[in-house]
Every structure is written in C-alpha cells, then in structure tokens.
C-alpha cells in the first residue's frame, strides 16, 4: 500500500517536472536587444532589434513588432523593414507588412525546416521614414511570435531611450588655487614656532662646528603658469643689533666656509614640482647652481627665491616636491657675542 502510494507520488512528480519546463518554454519571455538603444529626438531610426526565439518556427508563423505611436511612421513602407536570421539553414525568408494605423509590423516566415533556437532574428530598419519621437523619454518595442494557428510562442520587449531625459549631466568646477606652508625638514610636521612665529634655531655657536637649521617651503597650485616664492629680510642678515654676520656671496654663491670662518647664508634645495620644473631665482644661482653652494639671504627688498613653470600637488609627506632651505652659520674668534636674529618673510603666489 505504502509502496503504491510512493510510486504514484513519484510518477506524478516526474510528470509535473517534465511538463513544467515545456510550459515555461512555450510561455518564454525572450530578451530583446536594440542597437542604438539611446537616440536623439526626431532622428531616423536606423537601428536593429534582435532576439533569440525560445521556440522553433515554421512557414506561416508570424513575428509581430509593436512600437510606440510617438514614433513618426507616416512614410514607413514595407521596404524600410526587413527580417533575417543569419546562420539558420531552416530560415528561408520573411515578408513584411507594416501597419502604421496600429503601430505594428508583421513578418510572416517561410522556412525549409523548423528554425533553431540559437541564432537570433534580426529586424532591420533602413531609410529615414521611421523617426524617433519628438519628445524625449523611454519608449517600448515589443515582439510577439505566433504559430500558424495564432498561438502565442514568445514575447519580449525593450526600451529605447530617446532624447536626454534619462541622462545626468555631471559638472564640476575646479577653481584656481594656491597654497603655502612652512614644514619641518622631513615634511612630517609643521615647523616649530616661538610666540606664534615659525622659527629656525641655529643654537649656541662654536668655533669648531658649522651650525645649521632647516625647513621646507611647501607650495601647491593648480595654476598652469606655476608659482613663485620670493623673500624679504627684516634686517641685513643675521644680526645682534650692532654686528651683522658676514653674508655669503649672492648670485653665484660659494662653497660654505669651514668652521672658524664667519659666514652666514642658506643652502637651497629647490626640489621639484609634480607638473613643472622648479628653477632657482637668479640671486640663488639660477639654473646651474647646486644645493651645495651657500647664498646670501640678506636682501631687504623683495627677491625671487625660486619658481615653478607648472602646477604642483605635493603629498602629505613630500621631500621631493617641496623646497629645502638650510640656514648655515659659522663664526670666527672675533665674532661679537650676542643673541643674533633675522626674520625672513616668504611670499608665495601664482605666476602670471
């Protein structure tokens, strides 16, 4: 008894499972592909619509293409639309019947054998008698296939996007910007300050040592013409009010003095720019100078330090696209005692 029940249920399941897929195939929704799925308004629709049928088709089977009444079809004739099926030996030809009253086109097939379900049907429009709608929007094309008894086999639809109603114009405006910061030598912190003023401390001097301190000039700009940095000294070099340290040579620079010889100046590592070439100012040796030469930094008039002929976007820690300034001081036995100071003002701006 139980065995009979089980067999009955099993057989029923097999029958249901075997029938179900066939039913689904018969009712298949086939994907429709429209080339030129996006089109301008009121332009000739010279596109193709393709779909792979889910069911085999034979002579006198029909394919009906439905289109929106918004398309201009007043001049559309049978010769403007064709149906083909490349690669399928069963397909022979198809006749076209345009029905502009009902906004549909019927293709009636002639076949030598049932068509396959692998090669697509291709519906092609030609000429300029079928125009996209004058109003932008999304418009549907649908395809229904029927057998010679009028039974529906496949159905599919797709949208054509006409005009720009489904488009988003993305805009962005990058404004010209210039930035300036004075950072420590490693560019991993702000330069130290005393009473709010960034400082470079040379410390207590010795006759047997060269005192140095350094910092980085970090300029950023998206200006295509680049940037420049000039400097201005508050005093004629490093001074205690009564004695000015002997300044290094200007323009050509020189090798830094040895310990025991009084000399004050800077070594300038001009660095690079991400979108340009950095050039030293003429007071700092111009293009031919090197970082090893020491230069005078005592001008009380605005003097160009360096410039870039292109943009620069330095990284958070960047010892390449920044400029290194190293103040260097040596004293001799006769250098008067005192607290020596100098204030250097750097001005960065875009080049014009």
């Amino acid at each position: 008894m139980n065995l009979k029940k089980l067999v009955s249920i099993g057989l029923s399941l097999v029958i249901i499972v075997s029938i179900l897929p066939i039913s689904f195939v018969k009712a298949a929704g086939v994907p429709l592909i429209i080339t030129g799925a996006s089109s301008a308004t009121s332009t000739a629709y010279n596109s193709t619509i393709t779909f792979v049928p889910g069911s085999a088709m034979s002579t006198n089977y029909t394919i009906t293409l439905y289109y929106s009444s918004s398309y201009t079809d007043t001049s559309l004739v049978n010769g403007n639309v064709a149906l083909t099926k490349t690669g399928d030996g069963g397909f022979t030809s198809a006749t076209t019947a345009v029905d502009i009253t009902n906004n549909l086109i019927v293709f009636t097939l002639t076949t030598s054998a049932p068509t396959n379900t692998t090669n697509p049907f291709i519906i092609t429009f030609s000429g300029s008698n079928f125009l996209t709608p004058a109003t932008g929007g999304n418009y549907t094309f649908s395809v229904i296939t029927n057998n010679n008894s009028g039974t529906q086999l496949d159905i599919g639809s797709a949208l054509q996007y006409v005009g720009n109603t489904n488009q988003v114009l993305v805009t962005a405006n990058v404004v010209p910007t210039i930035t300036f910061n004075i950072r420590n030598t490693a560019d991993n912190a702000e330069q130290a300050t005393i009473a709010g003023l960034k400082t470079c401390a040379l410390g207590n001097q010795s006759l047997t040592a060269i005192a140095t301190c350094s910092y980085r000039l970090k300029v950023g700009t998206n200006s295509a013409s680049g940037y420049s940095v000039s400097y201005l000294s508050s005093t004629n070099g490093l001074t205690n009010g009564s004695h000015n340290m002997t300044d290094a040579a200007a323009t050509t620079g020189s090798t830094p003095a040895a310990a025991g010889v009084e000399q004050y100046g800077i070594l300038l590592g001009a660095g690079s720019a991400t979108g340009g070439t950095v050039t030293r100012g003429t007071a700092f040796g111009g293009a031919g100078a090197t970082v090893t030469n020491i230069f005078n930094i005592a001008n009380t008039g605005s003097t160009e330090l360096l410039s870039s002929n292109g943009l620069n976007g330095p990284a958070p820690t960047d010892t390449t696209n920044t400029s290194l300034v190293t103040h260097t001081l040596t004293i001799n036995a006769g250098t008067p005692i005192g607290a020596y100071t100098q204030t250097v003002s750097y001005t960065a701006s875009a080049s014009f």
Binding site: F180, N181, T199, K218, T341
Partner: protein, 379 residues
C-alpha cells in the same frame, strides 16, 4: 552586578566616541598645504570711476585639525621682472615715494583688517573693494592681496631665524580708455640643456630651447600665442611645429618676458642626471648626462631654420603677428670625432702590425737555408 553593567556600558560608550574619530583621522590623507586661497589670480575689466567687488575664499590645511588661524590681509603692488612671469613685489620706502605706473594697491579696501579661520575645512570669504579712480589713462593695473598670519612677526630668542609665510592672490584690472596693444619680438635665443647658447649655434644633440624675448610696448597685458616652425632644406615635412604659451601666460604692460619652447623630437637626445651631493668625482665628470636613443624618431643632422610667429590681437580685436628667425646646426661632432679617432687608431694599429709582419717575414727570408733547416739536415 549593576557596577559591572555601568562599567561595560561606559567602555562601550567610550569606544563609540573614540572609534569614529580615530577612523576619520586615519582615513583623511591630508597634504598639509597650510594656507589656501582661491582664485589664485583674478582679472577685472572696469570703467574709470567704477567700483569693483571681489572675493578670495580662504581656508587652511595645517596639520593641527582644530587650529584657529588669525589672518591679516594687506595689498601690495607688483611688477614684472622683465624675464619671468613671477611677480616682483614693490616696497615703497615711505608714503611719499612715487608709485609705479601700474600701481593699484591704494585702490583696494577691505571690509575687515583681519579675520579668523576656524578649524580645517571651514572657509572664510574675504571680500574686497576696488575703487578705480576717474583720472586714469586706460590700461592694465595690478596689485596683490597678501594674507599673512604674522604681520609684525619678529624673531625672538638667541641665534634664531624667524620665518613669516605670506600667500598672495594677484589682481589685474583692465581699465577702459586710451588702450594700446603692441608686441615686439626683441630676441630669439637658442640654448642647450644647460641654458647656454653654443658657439655658432652648433648643437650636438636635442633638446634645443627656443627662447623668445617679447616686449609688450602697450599699456594692456597681453597673453600671446604662436608657433615655432622648424624647417630644414626649405621644408617642414619631417620637422615639428611647436606651440608656445599654451597656458596663456601674460606679458605685463610696458614690460618684456622670455617665453621658452623646447624642441626634443630627435633620435639622439640628452637628459641631465640627478647626482647626489656626495657622488664620486668620476660621476660628476663623466656621468652628468644620459644619451637617449629614441627609436622611431628622426635623426637630426644639419642646418635647421627656426621661424617664430607670435600672435596677438590688438585693441580693435584685429589679428596681429610678429615674426623672427634664427638658424641652428645640429651635429654630434664629439661622437663623430670619437668614431673617427677610433677608426684612425684601428688603421694605425693595422698598419703597424702589417709592417711588423713584413719585417718578420723579411728577417725570416734572410735567414740562410742551412740555418733555417739545420735540424732536418743534421738528421
């Protein structure tokens, strides 16, 4: 039990408070650019007597996120240095000093003498007003607004250098009236990779820099454009045409500027090597440059004419053009000399060896028969 609940809740709350901030701090990869202003350059067109209004947006990107920064703006004249496009800031020693012809610093006024930037990311729109005087001739006038943190900053302490950082926005105002626009190409210089003009304009390799010194004789800033046509044997078929000033840089009124174009389109080119300060002497002498072989590029050899055409429009918007010409020679003469030298050495060695062979053969021939074959004769 309630104590435990309170403790756990406190810990969770603490984590919730701390965690978002630490994540945020790690995620933001700020470049620490310091003070930031935009636009970098502002241009106006104005009528005499007109009042203009403008704005610089100021913010900061100092490493300390919550830092408040006090900014003190001031206006300052600038002019051209006659060579570059870098502003030459003008300092008047006292109020009675005559101002430069294009001075505009006194026309500019601010709503506020100072303002405070709040923490990073907050900006301040700094408004300024420019009152164009009535008694002007037409032309371009200019000044910068300089933003500084430390207007009266003076170094304090012992053996200390104080450093002020100023950031400037440039402003140009072209005033209606009697305006003139006229350019002249004063000089065409050709230089090598070191910026030096070789004797007889004889270059060994590309690059060749074409440097145009252009004089603006008018009273309005001009941003010229133009082409540098390179030709050889009267044809430009295999030579490039280079555009200059594609970025639209200005030549200020009544000043000159040098504009440069680089010709780098050849089979042989040289580039400069970056040597460390402590690089060996051998490298400093023999390894300063790299000779690049650019396959697919033409071999440049012989005489080349460089024709320059500088274009601009005059005050009536009519197209104007100025021409200049220079001839250069490209010949890798050191390389040719080296190859010739190698060939000569090879020939000398060959000749020497040939003579030596002949001499040995002659000596051998002169040896008596008995002596030559004495060994066999004895046997």
């Amino acid at each position: 039990m309630s104590k435990r609940i309170i403790s756990i809740t406190s810990v969770i709350l603490l984590l919730l408070i701390i965690f978002p901030f630490t994540t945020l701090a790690q995620n933001i990869n700020r470049p620490y650019l310091g003070l930031i202003i935009s636009p970098a350059i502002k241009e106006f067109k104005a009528k005499r007597g007109e009042t203009l209004k403008g704005t610089f947006r100021v913010t900061h990107d100092f490493q300390e996120l919550n830092r408040t920064v006090n900014i003190y703006p001031f206006s300052q004249d600038f002019s051209s240095d006659g060579v570059t496009g870098n502003p030459k800031w003008i300092l008047y020693n006292n109020a009675l000093d005559p101002k430069v012809e294009t001075s505009m610093e006194d026309w500019i006024s601010f709503e506020k003498d100072s303002f405070t930037l709040q923490n990073n990311g907050k900006y301040f729109d700094f408004n300024y007003t420019i009152k164009v005087p009535n008694n002007l001739t037409g032309g371009t006038y200019q000044a910068g607004i300089i933003f500084t943190e430390t207007p009266e900053g003076k170094a304090s302490g012992s053996n200390v250098v104080g450093i002020n950082s100023n950031l400037a926005g440039l402003i140009f105002v072209e005033v209606d009236g009697s305006k003139t626009k006229e350019l002249n190409v004063e000089e065409v210089n050709v230089t090598d990779i070191n910026g030096i003009t070789p004797l007889f304009n004889l270059f060994e390799y590309l690059p060749v820099n074409v440097e145009l010194k252009i004089q603006n004789n008018g009273n309005v800033n001009i941003a010229p454009s133009g082409d540098v046509f390179i030709s050889t044997s009267g044809t430009t078929a295999n030579t490039p045409t280079l555009q200059f000033n594609e970025e639209g840089s200005r030549i200020l009124a009544k000043s000159s500027r040098v504009m440069k174009v680089t010709w780098l389109d050849g089979f042989f080119t040289i580039s400069k090597n970056t040597l460390a300060n402590d690089a060996p002497l051998f490298d400093k002498i023999f390894n300063q440059y790299t000779l690049n072989l650019n396959f697919g590029k033409p071999f440049r050899l012989g005489a080349y004419d460089i024709n320059v055409k500088v274009n601009y429009t005059d005050t009536n918007n009519e197209f104007k053009s100025k021409d200049a010409k220079v001839t250069i020679f490209v010949l890798p003469w050191k390389m040719i000399l080296f190859v010739v030298l190698l060939i000569v050495i090879y020939i000398i060695i060959r000749k020497f060896r040939s003579r030596r062979k002949k001499h040995v053969y002659k000596e051998y021939r002169e040896i008596p028969y008995e002596k030559k074959y004495s060994k066999f004769i004895d046997e």
